[in-house]
Symmetry: C2
Subunit: 204 residues, 2 copies
């Protein structure tokens, strides 16, 4: 069976859980406690060279790190990744943009807020938000009256960009500036098999 | 003919030029001046939704943005991208890691240094370098006595990670801490068709 090492609040892990659910794939979920330092334990680097979650361990024991690589691997051959080479490339562009421009810009301010460190970390939050607001505006411009990021249907480009953008308010971002983004977030939430960040069960 | 919009000093653009050279592909090179604001001109967003370089315009007129997406598109079906699904996924993991953890961490301090703004931007440089040193140490650990990042041959994982890491000293990073990285950078420089950041010709 597939095994997913994740954490309760990580948006990167959430992406993997959404897609696993949408693909109706069973998996063992191992939820690590990042504050306790679970990902920094000796031995964890043998499955995660970057000492972080998510890690998807395949049935043959091979681990996959980086949320974008997990999404691409799972989506191969499914309706969530186009067959057409140019559309696949478009999906990849969004996956890279999300990692380069949105993920840390939202995740760090969010973590500092959740841990009550917003005032202590205010300089770093300001510089992260400078990156993040620029990226959100580009996303808003692109969405215009589009329903989905690539082509005419939901793909892993949407799954990937959705996760942290939907959590941006927790990072102190003023999301009422972005009506197109808010509309598109609702589109993603209404896809079949979508799951919220926090579920009742810890094993799916 | 392929058309590459790039800039003289961008590491992300350099990746595309290295691979285009290694694939013996002819292309028209259009070098933009980022300081003058060429990428912020009205109209440029119609080919680059994120208003930045590189952009590879295909022969049919379709543009590709994000360096990782350009590398994946060009490498498809060549020896620079494995056929095996798991090895392809490994390549993608490195491409995502580079964008998430290395690119901005090196590019911003480097730009501030090159523009003589190091002292004015010292707080931001410190934040960025905190990210970057962590990522460089993970890269150093992984390289150990490996010759290449994935499998036993040079792939676009190496091309991608090489570009900014080879420029890290310009971003103020102390690279003498990383003997394995320095050895591997030389491996990449000695691959057939590799080109330096600045070439005499502006059209290849």
């Amino acid at each position: 069976m597939l095994r997913l090492y994740d954490s309760l609040l990580s948006g990167n892990c959430w992406k993997a859980r959404i897609l696993l659910s949408q693909l109706n794939l069973e998996y063992e979920r191992i939820t690590l406690d990042l504050v306790r330092g679970d990902t920094q334990q000796p031995g964890f680097e043998t499955i995660s060279r970057f000492a972080r979650v998510p890690v998807l361990v395949l049935e043959d024991g091979h681990p996959i790190v980086e949320s974008g690589a997990i999404l691409m691997h799972l989506a191969e051959g499914t309706r969530f990744l186009p067959v057409d080479l140019y559309e696949r490339t478009e999906v990849l562009s969004w996956l890279f943009f999300e990692q380069a421009d949105l993920q840390k810009a939202i995740a760090f301010p969010r973590v500092y807020n959740l841990r009550g460190q917003a005032s202590q970390m205010k300089d770093e939050i300001a510089y992260r938000q400078k990156d993040g607001y620029g990226a959100l505006q580009k996303l808003e411009n692109w969405l215009g009256n589009r329903s989905w990021l690539v082509g005419n249907s939901y793909t892993i480009a949407d799954t990937s960009v959705f996760a942290y953008v939907s959590l941006a308010a927790e990072g102190g971002y003023r999301m009422d500036r972005y009506p197109e983004i808010l509309r598109w977030l609702d589109n993603v939430r209404s896809t079949e098999g979508w799951v919220p960040l926090i579920e009742k069960e810890t094993t799916s």
